[in-house]
Symmetry: none
Subunit: 469 residues, 2 copies
């Protein structure tokens, strides 16, 4: 039987086991369709608990390294078509993130009248570290006056870019120089910068269903784009290949809005698509909030040929009202950025850049993320429990609840999506169906639970079941 | 100290070193004005001969990547800005602007090497109201948590827009509703928003000489623009009429860079030009600092037919590193903005929006402006006095010194603008000629005195007169 040593490992047992198996799959030691040992026998053989094996298998499953067949067990996936292996290399030691949700258009909705808003991406007041932030702000204002008054380079202060580079290296396995990092006032702004950098004679491919705001920005600035369907493994690369798109936007860690994680095989197919003059924009919008298992490796970290542009934001992790996002450019694009676009002033205030740099450097950001992850997990478990133990249990299905701050709730209802959305809004429940994001599927709803107070959840779910039963 | 590896290099050592440094300059790793190690210590550190370093430095010098200051050493040039282009004979039209400052990647610019920088628009540390700002920030962080965490509408928080509306009404004769005010992270950002609002089938007219960054943004986003000459009364409206431009950008209160104030007759001519579907962008970038006489009425306040878009910024009045600007749209355009562009998130953090709103509402902004105006007037009088009472008196002429933070100094000199600029830089004086901004006039230099310490002014003027006499 397959065996691994746990001697000298500093990681958790499951993480170590996950990596051992993953590396053997990547190296080809474990071939496609190889049947893995059953959890129990494997655990016994390795002298670890069954839970350890289960966690490792779950992680491999969610990343697409293995697949399972009902009542038969776990098998190694066919990761590489031969060409993609040759092209992309096999660097897999990196980890990633994600973080979006529908952003409110005017922000002027009167939230007070709602019982529960499952569409909001506001950050709740009790989750922001006000005391620490106030302390760091005070210190920056008193100790860093010279730096506060010195104009930042176009791509941001060296303090914040260095802090982000270290953070990415330590927590996401992305090793990059601060000079490849561009800081901007929100991802939307960075998209417009990226569009200017990549030039106007581009055809953008966007996920369908997907992040609608990107399509809207492309329309507004007058750039062409096409929809590429998302199947059960994420963006359909075959369809992408048949298009003449040369830029593609994806959310591989946690597809918005369906919540799918793109399996590793699909990732390599996508990387393989990225020939010269093609780029992949990896939107990693809420990866910090993967609530079960390990973070999913980023496309950026798997890419050996400088074709992936990595985007992330602090609006999900810190506060939606602090407008700080960043992108990591491949070396070559970074050089073009300096030549072509560094005449732009940085859009983020020095005051907040320097405060955030301290926040990251002194470990507060990591603590904050951990605290938030725990809080969100608790919240998610709470609402899942309410759904599963109440009248909705028999007339609904929960999908993709492992990652990020939303999951999909499929409802067995006679109402059309528009009707139900209206009826719910009249009862104080704001919710968007998947069909709002371009998907054909009816009756599937996004449950963004992150800002709904726990004590409102029971009532909200009761109202939903009242209406559809 | 800077270090490079020579391992495996096949080129000569000096060539390798030259390339390493050059690449770091091109990528921004070595920022403008970065002081390179002395030849001897660098050679010792790299274990190569001093000749190797000397050859590499000479190569970089001759190609303009670095510059030297006598008895001080070698420094990285600002290669992405005007100096290098001027040196290579390229027309300067693509460059620079009223808000430019030497930018560095690392933030390690050693301004100490310059005796006086007459080109900087950094706000000096002693002019920012740190104590008041810290107090207000603390209060906002403790009292306005709910508001801080509530996403602002696309055009900014109602608090800040109301404060600006009141300020404009009281001090600028502009009476508008907060709903017509759009807040954004810097005027450059607002220009890109405005370009999206006005649509792509537009021909922009820009002042020549003028704010070159606008032309650069137009080029970058792919919009057409033409130069309209500026005469002694500002933009030549007759020439504008003969063009097919339908949008014009002007700086009527204080033309950049010449400092001309547009007389009222010309203003009405310009307003008359604005037929349906034509718009005037009024950039009022430093009107608060009119140092003699009354403030000039804004075009916006003279306009009866909704054709003027008013732009202003807090980067001049408060701090160049706090990225908050705003524009006031005519009613009809504001409505289009809501329909077409309000899906964008606001680019300014709530934290700074709310702090600034308090700062304005409680009278601190007005006090600050008054204090700054007095300080700038004193500074201006000081430098004018030095010029008028010294050897420059007979060989120079001072133009447009009533308004804003810069004036024009015409020098009677045999040197061409490029030569003189270089000579001055070698002596630690950084200064730009008007010809950098598209003007044909030689020997006229912008003196932006606002950040030059008073005790350096005498020395700076002495150096200028030493060189030209």
């Amino acid at each position: 039987m397959l065996t691994y040593s746990f001697e000298g490992t500093k990681e958790s047992l499951y993480e170590h086991l996950y990596k051992c198996i993953r590396d053997d799959i990547l190296s080809g030691t474990l071939p496609a369709d190889y049947k893995l040992p059953s959890k129990r026998s494997f655990a016994k053989n390795l002298s670890v608990s069954t839970i350890t094996v289960e966690n490792a298998y779950n992680q491999l499953l969610s990343e697409g390294f293995i697949y399972s067949l009902p009542r038969r067990g776990f098998y190694v996936s066919e990761i590489f078509s031969e060409t993609s292996l040759a092209k992309s290399g096999t660097k897999m030691n990196n980890f990633q993130d994600k973080s979006y949700v529908s952003q409110s258009d005017s922000g002027e909705v009167d939230h007070a009248v709602l019982t529960a808003d499952f569409t909001s991406n506001n950050t709740s007041t009790d989750s922001f570290p006000f005391t620490t932030w106030a302390k760091l702000t005070r210190r920056v204002l008193s100790d860093s006056r010279e730096r506060l008054m010195t104009n930042s380079p176009s791509n941001g202060t060296i303090e914040l870019r260095s802090a982000i580079a270290e953070y990415l290296s330590e927590f996401r396995g992305i090793h990059t120089s601060p000079k490849n990092i561009i800081i901007g006032a929100g991802t939307e702004y960075l998209y417009t910068i990226l569009m200017q950098l990549l030039g106007s004679n581009r055809l953008y491919a966007t996920e369908n269903p997907g992040y609608q705001k990107l399509s809207r920005i492309l329309d507004t600035v007058g750039l062409s784009h096409i929809d590429i369907p998302v199947d059960s493994q994420g963006l359909n690369v075959e369809e992408l290949k048949q298009s003449s798109a040369n830029i593609v936007h994806v959310t591989p860690s946690h597809h918005f809005p369906t919540g799918i994680t793109m399996p590793v095989r699909r990732r390599y197919e996508l990387l393989n698509w990225a020939e010269p003059d093609r780029y992949i924009i990896e939107d990693d919008y809420d990866s910090e909030f993967r609530l079960s298992g390990r973070p999913i490796p980023s496309l950026f970290s798997m890419d050996m040929s400088g074709k992936v542009i990595y985007m992330n934001t602090f609006t999900k992790t810190l506060a939606s009202t602090i407008r700080i996002s960043y992108m990591v450019l491949p070396e070559q694009l970074a050089e073009q950025y300096y030549k072509k676009l560094s005449f732009y002033s940085c859009t983020v205030s020095n005051f907040e850049q320097l405060t955030l740099a301290c926040f990251i450097n002194e470990g507060f950001f990591e603590k904050h993320i951990n605290r938030m992850r725990t809080a969100y997990r608790k919240k998610r478990d709470h609402i899942l429990n309410i759904i599963k133990s109440g009248p909705l249990a028999d007339i609904s299905e929960i999908l993709e609840a492992d990652a990020g701050l939303h999951f999909i709730l499929k409802l067995n209802t006679k109402y059309k999506d528009n009707e139900l959305t209206d009826k719910l809004l009249n009862r104080g429940i704001k919710i968007y169906p998947l069909s709002y994001y371009g998907n054909n599927e009816e009756h599937a709803f996004l449950i963004n639970y992150s800002t709904v107070p726990e004590d409102k959840m029971e009532e909200a779910i009761r109202i939903i079941s009242d209406i559809i039963t």
